[in-house]
């Protein structure tokens, strides 16, 4: 059984998931599931493409055997990049000399030999540390509040810290997604490196203690929280100070002098930090990572931990030398508007550490994990003095942005189309009246209404927007009962609703396409029919639920 059952997913979700599957066997199983299940052509194509890609990769040429004369210089450049064995490379060099003897090809191979074996210089020679301000006396180094950047000496780094953002007293989804991802990463990490490092959830806010258990259920081992009335809304100065005070251990050279030791930890700074790439998370991540003298990979879409072979002399200290860095957080982020991906690594260099290795994560990049209420963890209240200076900015007023409408969870959806054109405002009113007759119902619209030039009176205007659109470029709904009033049923609309259990269409045109895929069709003007429906429901004369149930047996 593969990890991903394609029939459980929408096509749009599957794309990124399938990209990460490396096992052809698993893909074949997924393909079989899809064929036995929904059998969607695009899904099959997606999986087949992936299989083809992976199978294609296996046909790569063996550098020790291949006839170099068949390869272009560019091919050779790609080929040698995979080879770490100097002998194989020297053999290739000989073969090239005996063969086409291309200068550029030989250079590619030679430079690869250099980079895998290093130059012959004396390796025991110690690097000498020259502080940047001595090395470049002509530059103006000081920054606003720090003279210059220093590594902490012999720093100890552990754990993965996850900043858990809250909104209106709840963890936002990306916080849970990050906890789930962090859990997985650190479980693998502990196994790989035989370690016992943890996932630390950070909660800062007004009354956040109650969320600590939730963080644990989603994967945290330790929850560090700090509550204060003044923290009810995000403010970057205070949040940054608090996060950094939490992150720096006792005795940290740049930390609070009187910061006490804590039982649960014994390190200077987190090894990794992860923030949400939300408005507040981006703000906080940049400030925190800056204050901790590290770097930040912003807006990442994937994370993994593995070692990295690095030849950059800025990192290795010696040109031509290769050095393996382990436990490196690989932070993948979309570039060129998502055309390409870069993987960002945050690596120490001589005399300068770069910790924590920090990333902000695009919401939705990782699966929302299932919470495990049985999980156990430690909850730590962080105590520190809060400087009034940090609260100089006062939030005097705020507004909640409309987060949009989710129509997908309703029992009943009343959808209106261009049939309301004669009097759009009244049409919306009648639709809303009908919506009110049900416990769990909402109003949907066809694209034709939203893109029309209709003028709506102020009191119904709020109901007319893209966030209520049903169809190919809007929401897909599958309610028990879908009432389509004045909607012709173009295919772009159909794909957004034809999985509904019972479809009731109201239309003046008995030839309208929607009649073909409705369970009930009421021929008439919605301005007459909707009020009648509403009235019958009010009086209890009509039971739409029963109609819906009956709809299964008496088709049409």
């Amino acid at each position: 059984m593969p990890d991903i059952d394609p029939t459980d997913h929408e096509i749009a979700d599957l794309g990124p998931k399938i990209k990460d599957v490396e096992d052809v066997q698993e893909l074949e199983e997924m393909l079989a599931l899809e064929k036995g299940g929904e059998d969607r052509v695009p899904v099959k194509t997606l999986i087949e493409d992936r299989i083809e890609k992976l199978s294609g990769e296996e046909e790569t040429v063996d550098p020790s055997e291949v006839d170099l004369a068949d390869q272009t210089v560019a091919d050779i450049a790609n080929l040698v990049r995979e080879v770490d064995d100097g002998d194989v490379l020297r053999d290739m060099l000989e073969r090239e000399k005996d063969g086409k003897d291309r200068k550029s090809a030989k250079e590619q191979i030679e430079s690869r030999i250099d980079s895998v074996e290093g130059s012959d210089e004396d390796e025991s020679e110690d690097l000498e540390y020259v502080p940047p301000e001595e090395k470049h006396p002509d530059l103006d180094h000081p920054t606003a509040d720090k003279q210059w950047v220093h590594a902490i000496e012999d720093g100890v780094y552990e754990d993965m810290w996850v900043y858990c953002e809250t909104q209106q007293g709840d963890l936002i989804n990306v916080s849970k997604e990050m906890l789930g991802k962090a859990r997985g990463l650190m479980d693998e990490y502990n196994e790989e490196y035989d370690a016992d490092e943890q996932v630390i959830a950070v909660l800062i806010g007004d009354s956040v203690e109650e969320l600590a258990e939730v963080c644990i259920a989603y994967g945290a081992d330790v929850v560090v929280y700090l509550e204060d009335d003044r923290l009810s809304r995000f403010r970057h100065k205070s949040y940054t100070e608090i996060f950094c005070d939490m992150a720096r251990g006792a005795g940290h050279p740049y930390g609070r002098a009187d910061r006490p030791e804590e039982d649960w930890r014994d390190y200077d700074e987190p090894r990794y930090t992860v923030f949400p790439a939300t408005n507040n998370g981006r703000d906080l991540s940049a400030l925190v990572q800056g204050e901790l003298d590290s770097g930040l990979a912003s807006d990442c879409s994937d994370l993994f931990i593995e070692s990295a072979m690095i030849s950059n002399p800025a990192k290795t200290g010696r040109p031509g030398e290769k050095k393996e860095f382990d436990r490196i957080l690989h932070m993948k982020r979309p570039d060129f508007s998502g055309f390409e991906y870069s993987t960002i690594l945050c690596i120490d260099k001589p005399f300068r550490e770069f910790h924590p290795q920090g990333a902000s994560v695009i919401p939705g990049s990782f699966d929302l994990p299932d919470p495990d209420p049985e999980r156990e963890g430690e909850i730590v209240e962080h105590e520190m003095p809060l400087d009034d200076e940090w609260f100089r900015v006062e939030v005097t007023d705020f507004d909640q942005l409309d987060s949009g409408v989710d129509l997908s969870g309703n029992d009943v959806v009343v959808a209106l189309g261009r049939g309301i054109g004669d009097d759009p405002t009244e049409g919306i009113e009648l639709g809303l009246d009908l919506v009110d007759q049900f416990e769990d119902a909402d109003l949907g619209l066809s694209r034709g209404v939203i893109t029309a030039s209709y003028q709506f009176a102020g009191h119904v205007e709020q109901y007319v927007g893209m966030d209520r659109q049903i169809g190919e470029s809007g929401q897909v709904v599958e309610p028990d009962v879908y009432i389509a009033a004045g909607i012709s049923g173009a295919v772009q609309h159909k794909v957004g609703m034809d999985e509904s259990d019972t479809i009731i269409a109201i239309n003046t045109d008995p030839e309208a396409d929607i009649v073909d895929f409705s369970d009930y069709f009421i021929e008439g003007d919605l301005f007459d029919v909707l009020p009648e429906l509403t009235e019958s429901l009010e009086k209890g004369e009509l039971d739409v639920k029963a109609l819906a149930d009956g709809g299964n047996t008496t088709d049409d």
Partner: protein, 555 residues
Amino acid sequence: MTDDYEHYEAVVVGAGPGGAAAAATLANNGVETLVLERGVEAGSKNVSGGLIYAEQSAPYTIDGLFPNFREEATERPADEYYLHNVAGNKVKTVDMTDLHHTDTEWCDSVLRRRMDGWLEDRVHEMTRETGGGLLTEVRVNGLLREGGEIVGVTCDELDPIKADVIVAADGVNSELARDAGLMDWDEPDEWFQGVKAIVDMPEGAIEERFDIREDEGEAHLFSGDLFEGVRGGGLLYTNEDTLSIGTVFHLDSLVAEQAEPHELLDALLTHPLLAQWLGDDYEEIEYGAKLVPDSKKVAHPSPHEGRLMLVGDAAGQMQAQGPIIKGMNHAVTAGALAAEAFAQAQARGDESTAGELYEQKLRTEGVMDKLRPPQYELASVVGENERVTELGERVVNSPLGRAGLKVAEKTGVLERGFNSPFVMSIMPDTKLPYVTIPTALGEALGDRVTDENTIQPPDLADRIGDLTYDVGDPHIELVDNSFAASGDAVSACPVSATDFGGGCYRDEKVKTNGSEEHLVSLDTQPCVECGTCAIVADTDWDHPAGGKGVEFKQG
């Protein structure tokens, strides 16, 4: 850091036949060339009537630039060429094969997705050798200028790219040509609009119904009273296992008659004459539309500005005179000549002369004379005069005129006239040659068609529903939504119609404070990106971002 923009010797915008020919010729000359195409694949944004010519007199042909083109990228040769003059159920068919073969080395029917997709692979290989390549799903949205000079292009998806030469082969709605101020979209009488259906044919049906072999094909044109008096005509070309059936009209005439393009297409599809080819089961695979520049009026005599050169539709290089419709071959020639001009200018050490050189070549190689025949410019002064038209109509429709037609036929003047490149090139853009004469011919000389055509073409909603879209942000903005300013689009847009709520343009009566306004609203979801509304409505018209919008699978 503006100086860090990527630089290529040449950037070619658009991977249709013009762009492909330019890129291939640049690559053949060792010029580092990057090709940018906004579709998911080359051809996914393209529709054409469907015949590509290789002219004997042309300095470049597509199969010369791309070996095996005919074997691998085209459908069938168009060996025979007929014009059907229709009057009601009577049809007078004129064999135009001689005219069709004049100066023609070969002529094949093509479907653009297949053809351009095939070209894309070759172009990518060729340009990659030069250090460039071909990128799809990148929309070039304008010119990059420095100190007023054109130095490169800007894109939706990538950072600006600099180049020593920019070949704009970005089609009839060229954003680069407009940006450079070389073309405008103002006058409906400078454009044609074509709509086309690709019709599936059962195996063996084409051979049987047209009585041809597997390696043969035919082209049929239709004119007369089929189209409610709208100036234009119909076409039918045989593909490997489909038919391309389309109609092409003068845009000003479409607007004047408030005609619905999809209904005019249906009028052709359901005419009894087509029953013999369509059979009883009609399956339409794809509906498409395209705007066509009228080269007689808009072919730019000097299609370059600084480092920018326009080729193909972007430069108005679309020859449509009477029954002769040649576009892709001229785009190929122009693309290759532009590339050749740049390579020569580069070799001479002065790249700034490339544009001038290109213009010269268009003239000396005879391209300009084909696009803007000097005899048309003279004849149109007389031919398009209203009173002359009126007089002509009266003469043709008079008993004497009818008698003359009969005499003409008997003496062979008729066929000779239709097969004369000279006569065809001076045909005026009035109703006379498109509607009046063909109708009169059909009536006077035609045979009655007795077949019954039973097919039912899909309605517009289904045609739109069958197209593939990836809807992005609205790419067209309605600047003036009053019916007076933009109402023409409701009928002229090939995916809109009066009283149809599922199209791009819908007319709406909106009541505000007791008064009623007549407005149009626009939804770009069903847009086929033909550009009609850019001309007939008051819009701010751009293409969708790379990979977005309609995707033609046939074209």
